[in-house]
Symmetry: C2
Subunit: 215 residues, 2 copies
Amino acid sequence: MDNSNPEALITAALNWRYAVKKFDPKRRITAAQWDVLQQSLVLAPSSYGLQPWKFIVVSSDEKKNQLPEACWGQRQPADCSHFVVIAARRKADPDFVKHFIRSIAETRGLAEESLQSTADAILGKLQRMGDDHLPWTARQCYIPLGFLLQSAALLQIDACPMEGIMPDRIDPLLGLQDTEWTSVVACALGYRAADDPAAQQARVRFPASETVVHL
Amino acid sequence: MDNSNPEALITAALNWRYAVKKFDPKRRITAAQWDVLQQSLVLAPSSYGLQPWKFIVVSSDEKKNQLPEACWGQRQPADCSHFVVIAARRKADPDFVKHFIRSIAETRGLAEESLQSTADAILGKLQRMGDDHLPWTARQCYIPLGFLLQSAALLQIDACPMEGIMPDRIDPLLGLQDTEWTSVVACALGYRAADDPAAQQARVRFPASETVVHL
């Protein structure tokens, strides 16, 4: 991988990554690497900056071994190094918005009252959504997923993004039952097994001439 | 920006980026830079690899100037260099799935019939969704958005992700009316104006102790 210019680094990473089917259970992500991956999640943007998400990071063997049965039997959650579940807030209620406004005020040294128009804009959008905010909060969760996947590839850490998690089964394992949060999407991170069959498969993409339109 | 190791490059990029409010309308992304950004979109992963998206890239002044009125009057679509709209497929109908299966077969030199179990898995999932696939296809669109934003930051290209687009107004401008595709989310790309007020604002994030749970 050529680190001498970011263009080459990015292109190499995009072409290096693939969705790992079989992880090497013995190899672990280091604490320093995890720190960069966690920053990629935490610093990812969201609509209004609202961050209607939580990141549940499972790295203990005991807990990881409980996960396959909540993931249609897939082995990646158990065999990877770090399994990240991104959970969305079911409802961005006024208390949550207030908490966010307070966070802006504290970070920027402003009075909360000076942010009323921001609060009103967010609350107005949420009100127009009705009671079910999950379709919108769940979308937001895919932004940090993208950042996480690309950071992992840049660090040559393998990954497998997974929608195949059963919220009803995995939420209790993650301590999310009876909370405002529910699992949306996940990502296994670690290192491919030497015999991962998916490593040999050619990448499939529609040609850019079909998916990209220039105006 | 320190290019000597990817950890430092990523951390610097994550902290460098912010949502630009005011672009410099005179500065343009080069063709070589755009190529890397486009690869970041095209090579981003999606559930099953189905890619239920199109990327509409607006870089002509004439077309960009038509966009603010379809974006709540925001100026970023007109003043940026490249405005990318990510559109989702309203319905991933059996013809689209067949087209995808054919793409796998051609890329990997397989008989389409050998991919029947893959086709059945996708069709089964879609059938369980009912007629409205947009809540799911729209989520997928946020993955390439994440890749695009992070690649831009790594290249020190400014960006502003935008949900504030009106599909009913922007779709006709993009040639999406009466098609299977509808605009979901967008991203303005280019360079910040010297007097962009947003550049001075401290980044607001909940502390990791609140959003990250380790198990």
